[in-house]
């Protein structure tokens, strides 16, 4: 299945739940509503045509206007790969956990929570991952976080 066929297949078979975003890049990027996340990801994994059984990467993005959660998934048997994202607002961002679909999401979600403050519902093990256990200085990867000097470059 080529990239175009995959896009066409997904647009045709997923009831419009995955909408194609035009991000001006070679590979397609889909958008997903937060409420559909569990259902669609389960279908993506179990779809005999796609078999997306491998979670490559997931993580939060702070674009300055909104928060996004990006999932990159792949299929080890069909050699496919696709990305989709869930867009969230700054107000109480929260998302359903996908650890029951891809257990690999476990640490990624923990990391996302502590770095971006995106709450993950029903996560089995919500402890801080990279930051110290007593970290109370906000969510460091957000753009409005007051970074220590060593991270910003000096203004020239």
């Amino acid at each position: 299945m080529t990239q175009q066929e995959l896009t066409a297949y997904i647009l045709a078979n997923y009831d419009g739940k995955l909408t194609l975003l035009d991000t001006g890049r070679a590979e397609p990027m889909f958008e997903l509503k937060p409420d559909d996340l569990l259902e669609v990801t389960r279908r993506l994994r179990d779809d005999p045509q796609l078999k997306f059984d491998f979670l490559c990467n997931m993580g939060g993005v702070d674009t300055g206007q909104r928060l996004e959660v990006v999932y990159s998934i792949a299929s080890t048997t069909k050699h496919l790969r696709m990305d989709f994202k869930v867009v969230l607002g700054y107000e109480n961002p929260s998302i359903e956990t996908i650890t029951e679909i891809w257990p690999a999401a476990n640490w990624y979600e923990r990391e996302m929570y502590e770095l971006y403050g995106i709450e993950v519902k029903n996560h089995p093990d919500m402890r801080p991952l990279l930051l110290p256990e007593d970290w109370n200085q906000g969510f460091p990867m957000r753009k409005n976080w007051d970074a220590p000097d060593f991270i910003r470059m000096p203004e020239l």
Binding site: T23, D83, P103, A104
Partner: protein, 369 residues
């Protein structure tokens, strides 16, 4: 007489422990000598590389990302450059692609030689470590000759490579390949058939392929459990389709197979390097890229096959000279995450945990970033 009872106790393996390659802390719940559960605590090496990269230009990101996975820094350079090239639609000259493949594969060999050494050392054999490093030194010399550094190369850039190879590189590289190939039987003679080595490695740390895929495990660990999944073959990047090599795969998924897969990958990488040296074309080494590289707005996830599994970068550009988001993904991250799954409830001893940790080849900078 007081009632006799036994209870489980907890023991901290790390963050300062000789065999947790870096600063990983495993909280082991023990029943006597048996390990009941292992919980990894990471973050001791967290340097917020992703945040730092968000505040740097694309050119500056590359030396920073060298520190992301310093054992195979070439891969870090490459995967970031690849993502930036995809965003900026940069065509890379062919000679640059060949040079990149040579460097990537040499670095993979170097990484696997480190794996060979540290694994043997974790199991108590101290000498193979030095032998592994001895041959790695040849590769480091080649890198230093080409780009000036032995560990953090900053060699592969957006649009190509930073410098052409010096004229003496090709003969020296061929010689190094020959030497490494001739030393491999030594390694195998000292360990492969050694009954102690077999007893420590065989049947320990069995990974189930389906479970491993679900946990995002990739690279040699996945291939050792019988999944023939190599991104160089299955999601080709660069010019890998041009080369003739086999994907090393084993079927039992235990420590010994992970070791065998890596040793076999050294052989295959040697093969790729010599093919690339044969086919090395002339031409430019770097595409025309503006010094202030500003890719158009967009986002891309690229992944390559690193020596520790899938290495990926999710790069978001907003059209400025600094990336909006750099999300790195390393193989060790998922493998360390997977570790408790294969330890829990199997009655392994501490020594087995050490062996599994070693053959998973986890290095901490890739996890903590």
């Amino acid at each position: 007489m007081p009632e006799l009872r036994t209870e489980e106790y907890q023991i901290n393996m790390g963050p300062h422990h000789p065999s947790t390659h870096g600063v990983c802390r495993l909280l082991l719940t023990m029943d006597g000598e048996k390990v009941v559960d292992a919980v990894p605590y990471v973050g001791y090496l967290h340097r917020s590389i992703e945040k730092i990269c968000e505040n740097r230009t694309y050119a500056m990101c590359i030396p920073i990302l060298d520190r992301f996975e310093y054992v195979t820094a070439m891969s870090c350079n490459y995967v970031f450059s690849l993502a930036a090239e995809k965003l900026g639609q940069v065509e890379v000259p062919e000679r640059a692609e060949y040079l990149r493949v040579i460097m990537l594969e040499l670095n993979r060999i170097a990484s696997h030689l480190i794996f060979f050494g540290t694994t043997a050392m974790d199991l108590g054999a101290l000498t193979p470590f030095l032998y592994g490093l001895r041959e790695r030194e040849l590769i480091m010399d080649l890198f230093e000759m080409t780009c000036g550094q032995r560990l953090t190369y900053n060699y592969i850039r957006v649009g190509g490579v930073s410098r052409d190879i010096p004229p003496e590189f090709v003969p020296k590289c061929r010689e190094a390949i020959k030497i490494i190939a001739s030393k491999l039987p030594d390694y195998e003679g000292i360990l492969n058939e050694n009954p102690i080595w077999l007893a420590r490695m065989k049947g320990i740390g069995h990974t189930d392929p389906q479970q491993a895929i679900a946990w995002g495990v990739s690279g040699p660990v996945l291939r050792a459990s019988g999944v023939k999944y190599d991104l160089r073959r299955d999601d080709p990047y660069s010019i890998y389709p041009k080369f003739d090599f086999d994907v090393a795969v084993c079927w039992n998924g235990d420590n010994y197979d992970r070791y065998l897969v890596r040793i076999e990958e050294i052989r295959q990488s040697l093969k790729i390097v010599s093919q690339a040296l044969d086919g090395l074309p002339d031409g430019d080494i770097r595409a025309k890229v503006k010094a202030k590289f500003k890719p158009p707005a967009g986002e891309v996830y690229v992944r390559i096959e690193n020596s520790r599994g899938e290495m990926g970068v999710y790069l978001v550009s907003d059209g400025s000279e600094k990336p909006l988001r750099v999300k790195t993904r390393g193989g060790s991250y998922n493998q360390l995450q997977f570790l408790p799954e294969i330890v829990r409830g199997r009655g392994y001893l501490i020594a087995d945990i050490v062996a599994i940790f070693a053959t998973f080849d986890v290095i901490m900078p890739e996890v903590d970033r």
